[in-house]
Symmetry: C2
DNA sequence: TGTGAAAGATAGATAGC
DNA sequence: GCTATCTATCTTTCACA
């Protein structure tokens, strides 16, 4: 992972459909050297995948909510993690320091969807305490990976 | 944006390098019909880009911090937004409801980096109040777009 | 919008150096 | 790592449904 690898990943993060020749020109290597580096970066897992970044609004998911969660007493951590991994509305879930145990980032069709989501958390027996904040403007928008309805 | 479009975006979100023939087989359309749909989805902006999702740890950015921020009195909103857009450590920045004005998601090389980041926020005159939480486990990992050192 | 087919352009993969 | 070659894939275009 040298400076050239970093530049390649930066360029591919911007646009992964650039020809190898363009990448080569950008970093000062031949097309095949670039190809070989990308192969190695992918094998090592430094590049995890090449994916489409899509617009959540176009997919009918305009609402982004941040949900702070303290698990219910006695709820299984492993069970909750399986639940989070399975729900396509959950675009990120981190175990965090501080007074809450998890921070969820959720994409939903509407505010009503937020209410349904919280109800599902409660019905699953996961929800101890929680606090929800809604995203207004996206000042720096992270990539969005659509995981299905 | 019908069911087929959604399936295409879901498949491309998983792996954007599949041949059109494979996508066609998955959704029950010909290669040329798939090609045409992807072109339209891209033109409309439903597909924003095709990018590499990389591993922040491999890039020397193992620390993810959530920084809740209330802007300093008199700080310019526009100025702060330009600052956020320019700093590659900031992978997401949302204006949010509730007691804080912004939520920043920041990728950094170390805990010392978090301290430096907060110091830079303060030095820029943006920081009113703030509260930082560190991510421990990534239960559901969002895609990561490397924006450079 | 979609199908099927065919031509041409492009880029990825491979092998020898 | 480079150059050259081979091959898979994409793109474009057509006639037709």
């Amino acid at each position: 992972m040298d400076e050239i690898d970093r530049k390649l990943i930066e360029a591919l993060s911007e646009d992964a459909r650039q020809p190898l020749s363009a990448l080569g020109a950008a970093v000062g290597l031949s097309q095949s050297a670039v190809n070989e580096r990308i192969r190695r970066l992918t094998d090592r897992g430094a590049i995890r995948r090449v994916m489409a970044d899509s617009d959540p609004e176009a997919l009918g998911l305009p609402v982004l909510a941040f949900v702070w969660l303290a698990l219910a007493d006695g709820a299984s951590e492993a069970g909750f993690r399986a639940f989070a991994a399975a729900d396509p509305a959950i675009i990120a879930c981190h175990h965090v320091t501080g007074q809450w145990s998890y921070l969820l980032q959720v994409r939903l069709p509407s505010l009503a969807g937020v209410e349904l989501f919280l109800a599902a958390l409660k019905a699953g027996g996961w929800l101890g305490r929680s606090e929800t904040m809604l995203a207004l403007t996206e000042v720096v928008a992270p990539p969005f990976r659509y995981r299905g309805a």
